[in-house]
């Protein structure tokens, strides 16, 4: 393999991987605090993307309840992105109040929470389909005036990465830094880590656990909305199920990175992306299997994931 091709494959891997990483960040945040796998993340991610689409003033298609409907105004893309993400955050809050809080108050088994989140995810996806139909949508492209791809090579030996993927990579890095800062350097972060450690004890210490759990869902929902929009910008809104499709891969990413570990989610995403990029051309359609095989091997060697800390059983 020559150097240009090698560089191209590495950049391809980072580009695909940053999509997985950015998706997994919101996912892993909830796990790090609540120790639950939140399957609704994929659905909230979808809703965020649809909300952004609506806020840009774009029309809805032919099949849903809102067929042909358009908002009377259209926001510039960045404002629509923030608005759509806010709507996703609100959805996150509603989901927490309806599906997670009642179970938490009952002290239910984590498995019940898992099933409840799965149920809510399916319901949300169906509501999305009912409202917006099953057809694909595409955002008005805010990067339209920029070149479609960035050349990391020379003019004679181009190494191209799509501009939107460079943006996604950049945003995922910014999100990583902000989240790490929030968790490690702020009072709120400290309190969140205390809640993660032991909810009852932190509550006894005067931490408002209920408020912090809600905050976690707000942040996670907001991140979901941002990611949904950015990924939608890259590959279009492929219908109501498009977020769910990332759910399984996202799960693999956070397990690989170390459950609940925030830098781990990014590393996990990039590793899976790179592994997929180096799948030989003739087996490329089977790259999902490669990703999961890699996960399996890592878990055999490091059950706690790449960056996760080994869980010490407290007796």
């Amino acid at each position: 393999m020559n150097r240009t091709l090698l560089l191209q494959q590495v950049l391809n891997g980072l580009a695909i991987g940053s999509v997985y990483a950015i998706f997994a960040l919101g996912y892993t945040l909830i796990f790090s605090v609540l120790r639950i796998i939140n399957f609704t993340h994929g659905a909230i991610f979808t809703i965020g993307a649809y909300a952004t689409y609506a806020l840009t003033g774009s029309p809805f298609g032919i099949n849903g309840l809102l067929a042909g409907a358009t908002l009377p105004f259209g926001l510039p893309f960045v404002l629509a992105l923030l608005g759509g993400s806010l709507i996703a955050a609100i959805c996150g809050v509603i989901v927490e109040r309806l599906a997670f809080r009642p179970l938490r108050l009952l002290g239910a088994d984590p498995l019940l929470t898992l099933v409840s989140s799965l149920g809510v995810a399916v319901a949300l996806v169906n509501v999305t389909q009912y409202l917006f139909g099953a057809e694909p949508y595409a955002f008005p492209d805010p990067l339209e005036r920029w070149p479609a791809a960035v050349n990391f090579g020379s003019a004679s030996q181009p190494v191209l990465v799509r501009t939107v993927q460079v943006v996604i990579f950049g945003v995922s890095m910014v999100m990583l830094v902000l989240l790490t800062y929030l968790m490690n350097a702020t009072r709120t972060g400290k309190a969140l880590r205390a809640v993660a450690e032991d909810m009852t004890t932190s509550s006894l210490l005067g931490i408002d656990t209920d408020r912090l759990v809600l905050l976690t869902f707000v942040i996670s929902g907001f991140l979901g909305g941002v990611t949904g929009t950015l990924i939608g910008l890259s590959v279009g809104l492929a219908g109501p199920y498009f977020g769910i499709a990332f759910g399984l891969k996202g799960l693999a990413v956070i397990v690989l990175g170390g459950l609940g570990d925030i830098p781990g989610a990014v590393v996990g995403g990039l590793v899976i992306g790179l592994a997929e990029a180096f799948v030989p051309a003739q087996y490329i359609a089977y790259r999902e299997a490669v990703a999961f095989a890699l996960l399996f091997i890592v878990l055999l060697v490091r059950p706690q994931g790449l960056l996760g800390r080994a869980q010490v059983q407290k007796v």
Binding site: N12, A148, P158, L160, R162, S234, A245, I284, A285
Partner: protein, 395 residues
């Protein structure tokens, strides 16, 4: 005894009288069933088909129907799934007692519903079933929709006309879908037959959203033509990303992207995709002009392929009924015999339709496979902002 006899006699008399009266009264219209997707995700295509069939009914009845006796279309929604189309078929066969059925919309539905018609010996004409093996379902199943294997290579030839130096070809297809896989094999064969260089074959899944790896492999061979067999979302996304990576050469799309539904996926980057077509509104003939005029009057635009094929299906039924009636008057045949004779007649005929001249080839245990003389290729032209697009015919 005598009383029972008199009841029997009067009943026989009544029956005879009814029969005689029916013979004297104006013949009732001949019922032809239409079962296409009027609801569900395929409803857009289904609406086009309904319209095409209705225009045929109107036009041929104006010309005197079947030698003076009008036809009457019986619509039964086939939905967008298999169970609905099976129900619709059974209703048309057993309740509406039609002489033949136009439908269903999808090949997948045809494989499910057509066997019921074969068992009941009712002729079926598929208006839009293009998968391999449709006429092989049984001897009562024919189609007026040219199979991909025949239509697809025309788009490659059109690409060669546009770029005379075309040499290297890259092929991509969705390997987890039977239709796209078999279509791609047809394309690959066509590339070899046309003595072009099949430089690379790449696969993807219909659920994929990122095609960076495949595109890198494609761009490495520096192709002059890229052929994509996928569905609207994956195919559209692939084409968009291919253009994002700076590919400037020609693109041929398969039947899966032969829909305006890809416009929102690849937007302005859909521009220039070449797709083989079974129908062109630009085709010059008397029947196409008549069909086009009525359609344009109703819809203020040129008719799409789905409408033209549905029209053609009804036309085949009508012309076969006319020919059959001349040989042995339809009024004298019972329904079962009429259905069998109609099937034989329609497969044997040659028809001048909006699709061009068509006839059928057949074999043991199969119905009629369309033999279509004309073939067309369209190129997608998008407006610069990517919101609207049209299919422009190139030949």
């Amino acid at each position: 005894m005598s009383r029972r006899l008199s009841v029997s006699v009067s009943m026989i008399a009544l029956a005879l009288l009814c029969g005689v009266m029916a013979g004297f009264a104006a013949d009732p219209p001949i019922p032809i069933g239409v079962s296409v997707a009027q609801t569900g995700p395929l409803a857009l295509a289904g609406q086009d088909q309904v319209l095409g069939a209705q225009i045929a009914e109107e036009l041929f009845n104006k010309q005197g129907g079947v030698n003076g006796r009008p036809i009457k279309l019986v619509f039964q929604d086939g939905g967008s799934d298999e169970p609905t189309s099976i129900n619709a078929f059974q209703n048309l066969i057993n309740v509406a007692k039609v002489v033949g059925i136009l439908g269903p919309s999808l090949s997948q539905q045809a494989f499910a519903a057509d066997p019921f018609a074969v068992r009941a010996k009712v002729p079926v004409i598929g208006p839009s079933n293009t998968a391999k093996g449709i006429p092989q379902i049984g001897e009562f199943v024919s189609r007026v929709s040219a199979p991909v294997a025949i239509v697809a290579p025309n788009a490659v030839k059109a690409a060669m006309d546009i770029n005379k130096n075309l040499k290297k070809v890259a092929v991509l297809y969705a390997q987890n879908d039977a239709f796209n896989k078999s279509e791609s094999e047809t394309f690959q064969q066509a590339v070899r037959d046309l003595k072009l260089d099949l430089a690379t074959v790449q696969t993807f899944q219909t659920t994929d959203t990122d095609f960076t790896a495949q595109i890198t492999n494609v761009l490495n061979v520096k192709p002059d033509l890229v052929i994509v067999s996928g569905f609207q979302v994956d195919g559209g996304n692939l084409i968009k990303q291919l253009r994002d990576f700076g590919y400037k050469g020609l693109i041929v799309g398969g039947n899966g992207v032969n829909t305006a539904a890809i416009f929102p996926v690849c937007k302005a980057k859909c521009d220039g995709i070449l797709i083989a077509q079974a129908y062109s509104p630009a085709y010059k003939s008397k029947i196409n002009d008549e069909f086009k005029a009525v359609y344009k009057d109703k819809q203020k635009k040129d008719p799409p392929q789905f409408s033209a094929q549905a029209f053609t299906g009804i036309q085949v039924f009508v012309e076969a009924l006319r020919a059959l009636d001349k040989k042995s008057p339809l009024a004298k045949m019972d329904l079962a015999a009429l259905r069998i004779e109609l099937n034989k007649q329609l497969i044997a005929g040659t028809y001048d339709t909006p699709l061009g001249e068509i006839s059928f080839s057949t074999g043991p245990g199969m119905g009629g496979e369309i033999v279509q003389k004309q073939a067309y290729v369209a190129q997608i032209k998008m407006e610069p902002d990517g919101t609207k697009g049209t299919f422009v015919f190139v030949k």
